[in-house]
Symmetry: C2
Subunit: 240 residues, 2 copies
DNA sequence: GCATGTGAATAGATTCACAGCG
DNA sequence: CGCTGTGAATCTATTCACATGC
């Protein structure tokens, strides 16, 4: 803490596109910190994040004037600021609903715990799965959803069920008090305005690729999906 | 075929944001076709896709003038046109590299086969896994990557390895001739210009949610992540 | 009459280019 | 001098609103 409260919050409005890139910068900063780098320039951070330097500077400027002209950004300081913005300085209890292959993968994903996302329950509707152990969790029945969410003050729900039940699960999560949902089910779900929703859809990503693939074969002007060379990188992940 | 060649291709430039929505429209159309709907208005399709009607019309207009004023769009016809644009009328051999929990989930994901994405090989570097059966596949060793890609004319590679080896795998895929990559490894990878790249990053999505979650708790203006309202919760029809 | 298709208007994101400052 | 921070310019996407045509 100590040295980090010198400068203050800065609650400007941060553009959505910027928010989506903060986790990428964060990851690069974690690597840099591990490599004992003290400072980093926008140029180099841009390389690591696969974007260009102007974008890095503009993005970071929304958080505040955290750099030093002629020098760059202090790695530890920036790391802390971005973590704080992303809410990673606190603990986020989450539930995963649907423990099929994907649910399994999510439950085992180490990137969650590492960032403060603590799985408090794995829920499934299949009686055969109830009780099954998975890491440090036992799979519990869907009808415990309400108790778990309320009891553990779960704010984020992850849906990894089949498409048919996804909307129903979303409704139950929202009713129980969840206010952010990450949906992996391959279907559109709708939630009330006050609930934040993001989706991850595997087959959609492939379809986007085959669109451009096909185009490039046909010689019709390619996309700008490709990376700028061997340095800059990924393209925009469209809205959702 | 027959009736579908009446009108022609229309190779306008299609905006990236539009391309990303076509698979969503497609899924809605598949459901509609199964439900025997003959035509669909932009209004209703918008509901099913979770967007607004103006966007649907603008998006579809990039493909051509495929609707009928006063009536709407012919479901089957539009279904075909979008499939064609997305390259789903052909077969896409893909390889999945990295068969951990996520790779398993991907290998078992039914949405791939359904759309013409045919898994031709599952590759892993871990000797213990080689030979293991998984659905109709045996896991093969990474060093067969080149042969498989060339032999089966694989255009799309899926990376589901740990972050540390992702760049190396990407390089090998590109060298072998793959020209589209879907990256699930939690790291930025870079590829040559002519290769299309998309990424799916689970922990980034959670971080984006906790950003907004935190903001809403603090009362700082929320995002527009949430869906329009409670409007059209799609009809329950499995598929996709 | 009714829903599409589309120019025009608006909003949002990216990039440029350079002043400002350590 | 070097690198940040940021207005201004540009590019992309969304939304509006209505003429168009079945």
């Amino acid at each position: 803490m100590s040295r980090y409260d010198e400068r203050m919050p800065a609650d400007r409005h941060i553009p959505e596109a910027t928010v989506a890139r903060l986790p990428v910068y964060l990851r690069a900063l974690v690597d840099l910190a591990e490599a004992k780098a003290a400072t980093i320039s926008s140029e180099r951070l841009a390389d690591l994040a696969g974007v260009n330097a102007a974008k890095v500077r503009k993005d970071l400027s929304y958080l505040g004037s955290y750099g030093t002209r002629g020098v760059g950004y202090d790695v530890e300081f920036l790391l802390y600021q971005i973590s704080r913005q992303l809410g990673l300085t606190r603990d986020w209890p989450i539930v995963i609903v649907g423990v099929g292959h994907l649910g399994h993968a999510l439950a085992n994903y180490r990137g969650f715990a590492a960032r403060g996302y603590r799985i408090v329950a794995l829920l499934d509707a299949d009686p055969d799965k109830i009780g099954e152990r998975l890491g440090e969790h036992r799979i519990r029945h869907m009808n415990e959803l309400d108790d778990v969410v309320r009891g553990e003050k779960v704010a984020i729900g992850v849906i990894a069920t089949p498409a048919v039940v996804a909307q129903e699960v979303a409704d139950r999560l929202v009713n129980a008090g969840v206010s952010s949902i990450l949906n992996f089910a391959p279907t559109v779900i709708s939630v009330p305005e006050h609930v934040a929703l993001r989706k991850v859809d595997l087959s959609i990503e492939l379809q986007i690729l085959s669109f451009y693939q096909q185009r490039s074969v046909n010689g019709v002007g390619g996309p700008d999906l490709a990376v700028t060379a061997r340095a800059g990188a990924p393209a925009a992940i469209p809205a959702v």
